[in-house]
Amino acid sequence: MIFAVILVLIVLGSVIFHVFSPWWMTPIASNWSYIDDTLVVTFWMTGIVFAAIVLFMAYCLFRFRHVEGRKAAYEPENKKLEIWLTVATTVGVAALLAPGLYVWGQFITVPDEATEVEVVGLQWQWNFRLPGEDGKLGKSDTDLISFDNPLGLDPDDPNSADDVVVEADDLHLPIGKPVKMLLRSIDVLHDFYVPEFRAKMDLIPGTITYFWITPTRTGEFEILCAELCGTGHGFMRGIVLVDTDEDYQTWLQEQSTFTELTLNDHIKTASRAKP
């Protein structure tokens, strides 16, 4: 009896919490609103199933609670009902899966016009590299990493020369243009996670992973690490700013290319060497 009441309260409480609590997804800033839609559909379907089953249970507990003289029915099986329930469940699951796979198909199909941006993670900071004027990222190798070349770019690759290197600073992205984020780590696993973009992906040392987005809203967003990467994991933060085209170009002009950085370093080293 009490149990039946509690079950009804659990259903009511859960629904009320869901509807009235202030906690929901942060407003989206990328093209992946389909992901949000699929998530909301899943909430509806699972919520209805949860409420239906728990309320049915509550009814059973109330209606068939032990009273003097009650005897349970003897019903080992009911083929028809079992088949009916199996088919209905299969249909429901397929209805969830189909849109999910459809959106996944889009998620993993990077548009041809997407520009590449490289994210390089290390314990515990974010670095970035843009392809520069030639539109191509130069090769990189973990063995080339040094104090002067923290991202391990290949100086012999002509594509590296104009690559824009953003070391432990904010990343800027232009609004409305698809970007393919190439993810690279030089030490442990990390995960590039911007809640407003919805997308996320692990960085794996020794491999380059990727995902793509189109930013749809200007603003400043936080980059978090979402894959445990050691003691500093909770503090591995960065900033990504989605800019209007104009602001983006201004920012881009201020950045240094790989060549400039290495030159500067040489000059610095040279000036330090003077007595």
């Binding site: 919490f17 992901i35 973990t142 979402a226």
Partner: protein
């Protein structure tokens, strides 16, 4: 509704092998310590698992103190926090749930429920426990090792697990963890082979496979799965030991740490993840299936009704067991593996929802037109259905690859897996302990304490983990010692976190009452008699309670019917024991 005609008891085959004499203990040591009696081993397993579980409980308190009230407890550094989550997770999944379900309930219930005198290999069974005990000692010793236990997360992902940026990575912590796991698997394999062989070879006359209680079907299937899944963890553990100690590079690519190029190269971190989850996903069902089986039996007994759709239930267990081996990479949708895998693993994962849903329907349909007694075991079984349903449904978010992308690695995942494989199986364990304690101790557990324990645990656990989904939905990542200043997180989430922490402290404290009840009732509990729940299965039909070594006295039981003959029309009582030859005369079958 199926037509029912009381059938003559099914044919019982003649005994094929003679009853054998067991090795009986000769002194205190061989009776209580190095015992070969499955029931004593079961209690040793359970006692050890519960004790080590209490450590995990305290760790969860410390974690929640940190999350609910950040900057308050200066002794909980980021290092310590990661050590707490790692040890909490590993203890709960492996050393408590797996050990308690298979080593504890498996040992106690298999011989009794199938009508055997003991396990097939009692000596190996004893070794199994002692190796498990050694594994626990090694694990606990890491708390006292220099640098403390590993803080690599219970998934132990390399490269960070064996690097200096992770607590215990370059100290003894990770080594002791891996050695302990390897020992655990060795010990488990000995026990597991025993459970499988015993179920296949040692059943009483008349106990056909399709007459077995679902508890046995579930423990049997879970054991087969564990025997196939644990080797993957075993090799992963050994390879990681090699990487850490001998400088091999199974999981270690070329990498730079603090500006220094390490001597590794060519290995694959993602290979470890595949091996880990090839074990890790079946592991979820290794702890869920026994809970399924136990809950099926509890509901049937306490609703005085035959379990609904027994054959479907058996097949669902077997199908879930088989499917669980081809869904592992749904833990890795955003791991950077080939994204085309997403289609396959999302499909298999959602298919597994169908047999799982059938189980839920059948539990609820067993209640329909039942005669429901709200005994303490029943309360826990019913609560299991609610939490398991909740956790199973949130699995449809995470299994459906694209919906997983925003939620992966957030607190939503933490809420999901705690609901489905933390709270739910533990509620089943509690139900099982309240249910079978009278057989083990000959006394009932105290009802009032049981009710208080139940309501705090059930409502409290729901209050902890239901709102936690929304912390993840907001975007808060898991494995963060504090939220700190995140621009997308509203202030109010801190209040929610404090609420969850307070609920967690209360639920934890209620477990002390449970432990007290366990100890108090040994002396002060009401006498239970041999079959207090008026249940059909064989363990309740032993000549004496608690059953002695060898279980059955002079004659082994003979089984005439399945495990679920409750409220059979025409029968005098509302249950017919499996060894009751009704409506035939009892003497006809003794030959």
């Amino acid at each position: 509704m199926v037509e029912f005609t009381p059938k003559a008891a099914g044919a019982v085959p003649p005994a094929e092998v003679p009853d054998v004499e067991l090795y009986h203990p000769t002194n205190w040591w061989t009776k209580y310590v190095f015992s070969q009696d499955a029931k004593v081993i079961a209690i040793q397993y359970s006692g050890t698992a519960i004790l080590v579980g209490l450590i995990a409980l305290v760790l969860s308190w410390l974690m929640r103190l940190q999350l609910g009230f950040p900057d308050t407890f200066s002794f909980i550094s980021a290092e310590a926090y990661y050590q707490f989550i790692t040890m909490h997770g590993m203890i709960m999944v492996i050393y408590l749930l797996t050990a308690l379900f298979l080593g504890g309930f498996g040992n106690y219930l298999i011989p009794l429920m199938i009508g055997a005198r003991d396990m097939a290999f009692p000596y190996v069974n004893m070794l199994s426990f002692w190796i498990y005990f050694l594994a626990v000692l090694v694990l606990v010793s890491s708390f006292f090792s220099p640098g403390g236990p590993t803080g690599a997360g219970w998934t132990l992902y390399p490269p960070q697990a064996i690097m200096s940026g992770t607590p215990g990575g370059q100290d003894a912590g990770i080594l002791l963890m891996l050695i302990s796991l390897v020992l655990f698997i060795i010990g488990f394999t000995m026990g597991g082979l025993n459970y499988v062989v015993t179920v296949l070879q040692c059943r009483a006359r008349g106990m056909t496979l399709m007459r077995m209680p679902l508890t046995i079907w579930a423990i049997f299937t879970a054991t087969v799965m564990a025997l196939l899944a644990f080797p993957a963890l075993f090799v992963a553990g050994v390879m990681m030991l090699f990487d850490r100690l001998l400088g091999s590079s199974f999981f270690m690519p070329a990498l730079v740490e603090l500006g220094e190029r390490l001597e590794y190269g060519g290995g694959s971190p993602i290979l470890f993840q595949h091996l880990f989850w090839f074990f890790g996903h079946p592991e979820v069902y290794i702890v869920a299936l026994p809970a399924f089986g136990i809950v099926s039996d509890l509901i049937s007994v306490h609703a005085r009704k035959t379990i609904f759709g027994y054959r479907m239930m058996v097949w669902a267990i077997v199908i879930i067991g088989a499917l669980s081996f081809i869904v592992w990479a749904h833990h890795m949708y955003v791991s950077g593996m080939n994204p085309w895998f997403g289609f396959f693993f999302a499909t298999t994962t959602l298919i597994i929802a169908v047999p799982t849903a059938i189980k839920v329907y059948n539990w609820v349909l067993t209640l329909w037109r039942g005669d429901i007694h709200f005994s303490i075991p029943m309360l826990f079984a019913l609560a299991f259905i609610v939490t398991f349903l909740n956790g199973g449904l949130s699995g449809l978010f995470l299994g459906n690859v694209v919906v997983d992308v925003p939620l992966s690695d957030t607190m939503f995942v933490v809420a999901h897996f705690h609901m489905v494989m933390g709270v739910a199986p533990i509620l089943a364990i509690f139900g099982a302990i309240y249910h079978w304690y009278p057989k083990i101790a000959g006394k009932m557990l105290d009802d009032t304490m049981g009710k208080i324990h139940f309501w705090i645990t059930f409502i409290g656990a729901y209050a902890i983990f239901f709102p936690m989904h929304y912390v993840g939905l907001v975007g808060v990542p898991r494995r963060y010692p504090e939220i700190g200043d995140m621009s997308f997180v509203p202030e109010s989430i801190n209040e929610l976190n404090a609420f969850i922490s307070i609920a967690a402290l209360i639920v934890g404290a209620a477990q002390v009452l449970f432990i007290f009840n366990l100890l108090w009732s040994i002396r002060h509990g009401k006498d239970s008699g041999g079959n207090p729940w008026r249940a059909t299965t064989l363990e309740w039909q032993t000549p004496t309670t608690p059953p002695p070594h060898g279980n059955w006295g002079q004659n082994l039981p003979v089984v005439y019917r399945w495990a679920y003959d409750y409220s059979v029309p025409g029968a005098d009582e509302d249950f017919l024991a499996q060894n009751d030859p009704w409506p035939d005369k009892p003497d006809g079958a003794q030959a």
